[in-house]
Symmetry: C2
Subunit: 202 residues, 2 copies
């Protein structure tokens, strides 16, 4: 349909719901869809690479970027700061690339007020017990950190009604298929149709 601008997909989920793996799998399996890399002040986890998973920056540098208005959205999560560069995001959209933003509900609210055609997807864990089990299996977090994440998971889920779609990650392949479907369906939206091409048909 030769759409000229890229679509913006905002994906949120409580930590441990599988958001990062799902977002990676979907950008690998769908053409023309890119994952936006966030800025983060936290330390890299084992296996995480600067410039691939996040741009890891110091809290001081992050504060400078906030002051300069560099962020399309930013949020403090578990005492760490995360943000999306407005310039990088707008450039990708202008080039016609569809972008997945993997951000928390605070960031999602900021995007909602600035990008009125963005599509909002919430990934739900099948249960809070399974969420807690997944967090424990991760083994990188201490007991009090897990409790903090569980409390925050409940807070995030409370905001589900802000989202257009809900994907329950009970089974990874099924959740991925649903996520892919949402992106493919949104690309078929009539408002994105090439009206000049249709005018020529009639």
């Amino acid at each position: 349909m030769n759409k000229t601008r890229g679509l913006l997909f905002v994906v949120s989920a409580p930590s441990g719901a599988g958001k990062t793996s799902l977002c990676r799998a979907i950008t690998d399996s769908l053409e023309g869809l890119t994952h936006s890399i966030s800025y983060a002040t936290r330390k890299p986890r084992p296996g995480e690479t600067d410039g691939r998973d996040y741009y890891f920056v110091s809290p001081e540098r992050f504060q400078e970027m906030i002051k300069a208005g560099d962020f399309a959205e930013w949020a403090e999560v578990h005492s760490n700061l995360y943000g999306t560069s407005r310039r990088v995001l707008d450039d990708m959209i202008a080039k016609g690339i569809d972008v997945i933003l993997d951000i928390d509900t605070q960031g999602a609210k900021q995007i909602k007020s600035k990008y009125d055609t963005a599509v909002f997807i919430f990934i739900m864990p099948p249960s809070l017990d399974i969420l807690e089990e997944r967090l424990r299996n991760r083994k990188s977090d201490h007991e009090d950190e897990i409790r903090k994440r569980m409390r925050r998971a409940r807070e995030e889920i409370r905001d589900y009604a802000l989202y257009d779609y809900i994907v329950v990650n009970r089974d990874f392949d099924r959740a991925l298929a649903e996520l892919r479907s949402i992106v493919m369906a949104e690309r078929c939206r009539t408002r994105l149709a090439d009206t000049q091409w249709i005018e020529k048909l009639i």
Copy 2:
């Protein structure tokens, strides 16, 4: 997500765009999705079966059904009458079955005014030349019938803006994948979410 009511998908397309084959393929490949069988006053085409493709009825019987208010929508197309039984449709939706209604733009407008959560999909031919070629290959229609269908195709396409989604049937498998995606994505809509289940999470 345990949704209780079925979804209603309305699919329209100019004759020859591949709507019938696509609708058959999608109900075969997705569980919980059924094709609603229309009433029709025209003669069966070769290969068409009463009760599978259409309920073939006499023009007199059809007029009686109109008078009795039996139709959720009905339309005259190429001097034939087509209609959807309101009772059959409402029963399927009430049972939680998702329904595909394969109807023309006149019928779609009637559904739009009666079923406010219905999802509207327009199947577009890749070009009018290809549409005409497909109609000629069908070989069941005479020259003046083909001209009539081409004129009507342009009229139908003019109503595309009534639809939520546009699927271009350039390649059958791709068009089917897009149609499947639309159904799967719509099933993930937040407004269909089981709020009681979510309340228990938080």
